[in-house]
């Protein structure tokens, strides 16, 4: 039995909903940034990275620019505050666009916003890499239960959940399918 | 004091009764029960009777290292191991290289009163391998020393070895050699081979033992003396001794329990419990030593009981002392490796652990003779063994002051149940007899 078929699991977003949400977010980002010139989208591995790439692709289409220099990856593992609570995590890759992040608008992209601790770690990591003019946050799902004073600038879907539930995001690039499900633990 | 051992199997033979009266074996067979009178009856059904075990190779550490062992605690360990006599090696502090020291050790043994302690005399002054110790004085002392050894050190100078072999002929002595070529074993830590290469520990090559054994058997032949090779550990040494015996050379040889049972692979733990000199060798060497013991090439099992304090073992391998305890486990190891496997009989065990060592040490005659047959009129030095008992070695429970047994947790077959020294029980039901301890 795969997780997707687990009892008590229900799909809340399918491929069309995810696609529409990302297109909307891409437009919102462009609107706030007044174009793509100073924009950098940094995806947080694992699933933030393909989301950032999709957003960049849409932005590139709309603005008629090459999306490649807009995207980077920001691994936050070594900045996490919960390392000692879990088995050793594998460190992911960090890669910045050639132009760097100094004086640019950085949009952090992640799949799920939950406690806010990952984003806290991401902001620390960012500080060590340069000095953006502004940092914003885009997430596919905001499931609530924040433990830090952090909120998202762009949200695909607000998803009220209980703490006991698990939000499972699957993306074509990493899992072969686009879906967001809520699973009882 | 008299005891009737009921249903006992002498040397593992047909069960019978054996009567001990006034320190001697008074009767064996149907007569025993008839003559028993008021003798205490010992139910010895299922037990094997052996002549009291004799160790040619024990380190009792006293005088000098009473923190590791004393003559008393070593005697307790020996009695529990089924021994009625041990030879105390000379590498004490001061070294047993004078009549005074050997008589001191003799007296300490008599005071302990659990086993006969026969002091071994050093071959050279201070074990330094330079000058003969006063072998004659030790031979004529109250200790009547007949076994001479620098054990721990090799008598490596060929001239000194020749002189010693010749000199001891005057009092029918024997030189017991620790065969270790010192130049080939400088800073050596373990057997040189596959495992030492892997572990990065300096090697103690088999040839360092074999070259000395070969030289010594030729020297013994040349001067017509008795040579005893201690702790034969390599297949090559076994082969050389076999060759020498075939030529009629007066050589005897010893195997230790650990060289009959353990291999160099144990060093992979880097636990100094397995650090010993000569070192644990390969499985092929262990097999050769077993075969040599079974076919009579190797004459005796000697424990090389080498107690060490915890601080001398609770450290890194290179800093640790060489040696392991053995008195309380020797019979179990021999029983497990040689008897339970069908390679030796209990009569063979009596030969290699009692009769032959006593003969080599020349303690097999006179009123306090050791290693005598189980026969009417002989001194009642008797060890009772339960050949089927399976037991797990627990070094913490050992009577030895030291805990450096390599066999902790190992399951053995065959256990000493009782020991009689000239008719007096020193061990009953596997425990020291209280009156003796007090």
């Amino acid at each position: 039995m795969t997780a997707a078929q687990a009892p008590g699991s229900r799909e809340v977003l399918g491929p069309p909903e995810i696609g529409r949400a990302l297109i909307r977010i891409a437009h919102e980002i462009l609107e706030r940034a007044h174009g793509a010139d100073d924009l950098v989208l940094l995806g947080i591995p694992t699933r933030g990275l393909p989301l950032a790439q999709r957003l960049a692709a849409t932005i590139g289409e709309v603005e008629g620019v090459d999306p490649e220099p807009l995207v980077g990856a920001l691994d936050v593992t070594m900045y996490r505050d919960d390392l000692r609570r879990h088995p050793t995590r594998t460190i992911g890759a960090t890669s910045l666009p050639d132009r760097g992040i100094d004086d640019r608008v950085v949009v952090l992209v992640d799949d799920v916003l939950f406690s806010g601790r990952t984003i806290r770690a991401a902001m620390d990591a960012l500080t060590d890499l340069g000095r953006p003019s502004a940092v914003q946050l885009a997430v596919l799902v905001d499931r609530g239960h924040r433990e830090l004073p952090i909120r998202a600038d762009y949200v695909g879907k607000n998803l009220p959940t209980s703490r006991g539930e698990k939000v499972a995001v699957r993306l074509v690039e990493t899992d072969g399918v686009d879906s967001v499900r809520i699973e009882a633990q | 004091m008299s005891h009737l051992l009921r249903g006992v199997a002498p040397l593992g033979g047909t069960p019978t009764d054996l009567l001990i009266v006034d320190g001697r074996i008074a009767a064996i067979g149907p007569d025993a029960a008839r003559e028993a009178g008021s003798a205490e009856v010992v139910d010895a059904g299922g037990l094997v009777a052996l002549p009291g075990l004799v160790d040619l190779h024990t380190h009792l550490r006293e005088p000098g290292r009473e923190d590791a062992e004393t003559v008393l605690t070593g005697s307790r360990a020996a009695a529990l191991g089924g021994y009625t006599a041990v030879h105390a090696m000379a590498n004490t502090s001061p070294v047993a290289d004078t009549a005074g020291v050997v008589e001191q050790v003799l007296r300490l043994g008599q005071d302990a009163g659990l086993v006969d302690v026969f002091p071994v005399g050093a071959v050279s002054v201070g074990l330094r391998g330079e000058q003969l110790a006063e072998l004659g004085a030790m031979a004529q002392s109250a200790a009547r020393v007949r076994v001479f050894s620098d054990d721990g050190m090799c008598v490596h100078d060929p001239v000194l070895m020749r002189r010693a072999l010749e000199y001891v002929k005057a009092f029918d002595g024997v030189v017991a050699q620790h065969a270790q070529e010192p130049r080939l074993t400088r800073e050596a830590q373990m057997h040189e081979g596959v495992v030492s290469a892997e572990l990065g520990l300096a090697g103690w090559p088999a040839v360092a033992e074999e070259s000395i054994v070969a030289r010594d058997v030729l020297l013994a032949q040349h001067v017509g003396s008795r040579l005893h090779v201690l702790h034969v550990s390599t297949a090559g040494s076994v082969e050389i001794v076999r060759w020498a015996k075939a030529r009629g050379i007066g050589v005897t040889a010893e195997a230790t329990p650990h060289h009959l049972s353990l291999t160099d692979a144990l060093a992979r733990s880097y636990d100094p419990l397995f650090k010993v000199n000569p070192p644990l060798r390969t499985p092929e060497d262990v097999e050769a030593v077993r075969a040599g013991l079974a076919d009579g090439t190797i004459d005796v099992v000697g424990t090389d009981h080498a107690p060490h304090t915890r601080e001398d073992k609770d450290c890194e391998w290179a800093a640790a002392a060489f040696g392991m305890t053995g008195l309380e486990t020797a019979l179990g190891i021999v029983s497990t490796t040689m008897v339970a496997t069908g390679r030796m009989t209990w009569a063979d065990v009596a030969r290699v652990m009692s009769a032959t060592p006593a003969r080599i040490g020349r303690v097999d005659s006179g009123p306090r003779a050791q290693g005598r047959p189980l026969a009417v009129g002989e001194p009642a030095n008797v060890t009772l063994v339960d050949p089927a008992a399976r037991w797990t070695v627990d070094p913490a429970a050992h009577a030895s002051t030291s805990r450096n047994s390599p066999y902790g947790g190992m399951e053995l077959t065959g256990r000493v149940v009782a020991t009689f020294l000239r008719g007096r029980p020193t061990v009953r039901d596997g425990a020291l007899v209280e009156a003796v301890v007090a």
Binding site: M78, A93, T94 | A197, E198, G200, G203, E311, A318
Partner: protein
């Protein structure tokens, strides 16, 4: 990973994972801000019974770049001869709350004892023990080989890759070399084919069971076209010329002639082959200045990679929850 005692303990997946983690660490070391907060609050003790400023500094830099607290404990000569025993030192470090102990010791197996004798609960990292093992040296060597011979435009560090099919020659005093032992274990685990080159006196008895080839002739091995050649340091005390009967070879000059990497041998190596040395070098003995300073020498880079590899190992040992607490 609970301890790192021997390169032989690393399986293929673990070894590649360490190298991949090292690659991420190496990237952080080219940034302006090199320090990471990862091991804040953790205490790493450098316990050095043997002088090795180079190795100690490398471990110290690695721990500090990860924000661990570092305590340097130089116990040179104390244990084996006299003074405090290894056990008491270990109990002291335990009482001080060490999370990891990086140990360099002249006695083979000392890190094993520290890890297994029950004296302390810290992770033990072998920084070189006697003539046994030096696993982080092998890891940095493997990292260097992989970067140079397996790196691609997309993956300059060869991340995810191993060393399958590469041929590495290790030349010199194999008998006394923990670097050689560790490298034979690790490089062959990663798929490389290792050839040891040494005079017969400096090859250990028992080497026939190692997963490598042995040659007594450097020229033949050079002409065989190795992808990497690693020159081992020759200790002065092992040399002839006054060493007497126990010297392992007749003279330094003869050694250099037979086993030194000079300009002629360097020229005969394949174009892509790299020259390695764990340092410190005896210039003019096992390696000539021509070879040491040539563009194909990666000796200085080995040092830099050492910090990244040690960061990776400290991360993997210390960042997660403790296995025995899980």
């Amino acid at each position: 990973m609970r301890h790192l005692l021997s390169a032989a303990d690393l399986d293929h997946a673990t070894a590649v994972h360490i190298l991949d983690t090292s690659a991420e660490m190496a990237k952080t070391q080219s940034r302006e801000i090199k320090k990471l907060p990862t091991l804040r609050g953790r205490t790493v003790v450098n316990l050095f019974f043997e002088d090795s400023t180079r190795t100690r500094i490398s471990f110290e830099a690695a721990a500090k770049r990860l924000s661990a607290d570092v305590i340097n404990f130089s116990a040179k000569g104390s244990s084996v001869s006299k003074g405090e025993s290894l056990k008491d030192t270990a109990l002291t470090l335990h009482a001080m709350g060490a999370d990891a102990v990086v140990v360099r010791h002249q006695a083979s197996g000392a890190p094993h004892r520290l890890a297994n004798a029950g004296w302390l609960s810290a992770a033990v990292l072998n920084a070189g023990d006697g003539t046994h093992q030096h696993p982080t040296q092998a890891l940095l060597d493997a990292f260097t080989v992989r970067r140079h011979l397996r790196g691609t435009a997309a993956e300059p560090d060869g991340v995810g890759d191993d060393l399958a099919g590469l041929r590495v020659a290790i030349v010199g005093d194999v008998l006394h070399s923990r670097v050689a032992r560790s490298n034979v274990d690790l490089l062959t685990t990663l798929g490389a084919r290792v050839t040891l080159v040494a005079p017969p006196t400096l090859v250990p008895v028992g080497v026939e069971r190692w997963p490598c080839e042995v040659s007594y002739h450097l020229d033949e091995v050079v002409d065989g076209g190795p992808d990497a050649i690693m020159m081992l340091r020759v200790q002065r005390e092992r040399m002839g010329g006054g060493g007497g009967a126990t010297s392992f070879f007749p003279s330094p000059l003869e050694y250099t002639r037979q086993y030194g990497l000079d300009a002629r041998r360097l020229a005969r190596l394949p174009e892509h082959a790299i020259v390695m040395h764990p340092g410190p070098m005896n210039r003019g003995l096992e390696i000539s200045a021509d070879a040491a300073d040539s563009p194909r020498a990666v000796i200085v880079e080995q040092v830099a990679n050492g910090v990244a590899v040690r960061m990776a190992v400290l991360y993997l040992l210390l960042a997660g929850e403790r296995e025995d607490e899980a």
